[in-house]
């Protein structure tokens, strides 16, 4: 018998049932870890540490989950906050401003094509954290702009702008192989 998220959450809240919480972790560990791996630019150890913290926070704060949004949306919100906390600690956000406009990509449109041979994973790493989060949540995880705005704690218009700007940068940065793939 398969329990809904609401059933499992109710069991955790009423009985502090760790098995029910374990089932929730099993259901959502993949999207949360993948999201954090993207946000940490492929640092899988850091991503898993942040994912673990995300689920521990979820355990502690589950009574504040009102069910207005999907459980996954609520979890992504905690995960993004955990990432922002870690990024602040590492002052990565300040460094990201430099990475936002990588000189070899933005300033030399006539550079040899080998310089532009970035695959999508590498290209995603070059987006700033807000654009990367918006693109990953909307385009990769299929969340709505509204859900993404809720997760990132920013206005809907900002999310739409970040998605458009992020995708535009990705298109510009991706290799000619991608362009061939697109025209095929």
């Amino acid at each position: 018998m398969s329990f809904t998220d609401a059933d499992l959450i109710a069991r955790v809240l009423s009985h502090k049932d760790q098995n029910a919480f374990g089932e929730l972790v099993r259901r959502y560990q993949s999207p949360v870890r993948a999201f954090l791996a993207r946000m940490t630019r492929g640092d899988l150890h850091l991503a898993d540490d942040l994912a673990q913290e995300t689920f521990l926070k979820a355990w502690q704060k589950l009574q504040t989950f009102r069910g207005a949004a999907k459980f996954s949306t609520w979890l992504f919100g905690i995960a993004f906050n955990e990432f922002c906390g870690a990024a602040r600690q590492k002052k990565e956000l300040a460094l990201e401003e430099m990475a936002e406009s990588p000189p070899e990509l933005e300033q030399s449109p006539t550079a040899p094509s080998s310089n532009l041979r970035l695959d999508l994973t590498e290209a995603l790493k070059l987006l700033n954290s807000n654009e990367r989060a918006a693109v990953v949540l909307c385009c990769q995880n299929g969340l709505t702009h509204e859900e993404t705005a809720q997760i990132l704690g920013c206005p809907l218009g900002t999310v739409k702008t970040n998605v458009l700007r992020g995708k535009e940068k990705l298109r510009r940065w991706l290799s000619p192989a991608y362009k061939n793939y697109e025209s095929a």
Partner: protein
């Protein structure tokens, strides 16, 4: 509501990259990091039952058992406080004892 456009190759590529990550012990690590349930689970029912029993015992000791008025329908109908008050006390003591037992059993579930 946004939905990836059908013809958008970039969206398709992004979705293709979104692959399932195997658990590989992650869930077990999270569960083992959760605060362990209190090992002294018996403490609350023990305290609850103990205090209820002691309170009830003291109340029973102090109740004027020998001077309890006989209960009959006439005195019940007349709502004579001198008749009813001692019995209200007796029933209160019994009710609190029963409530203590039930609460203790429910806590253990």
């Amino acid at each position: 509501m946004n939905r990836p456009e059908e013809g958008d190759t970039l969206d398709a590529l992004l979705r293709d990259q979104n692959q399932y990550i195997e658990d590989n012990g992650f869930t077990a690590r999270v569960i083992s990091a959760l605060p362990q349930p209190c090992s002294r689970f018996w403490l609350r029912p023990f305290l609850l039952l103990g205090t209820t029993t002691i309170g009830s015992g003291l109340a029973i000791l102090w109740l004027p058992w020998k001077n309890l008025p006989a209960l009959d329908l006439e005195s019940l109908h007349s709502l004579n406080s001198q008749m009813l008050l001692p019995w209200v006390l007796v029933f209160s003591v019994l009710a609190s004892l029963i409530w203590g037992i039930i609460a203790a059993v429910q806590l253990e579930d």
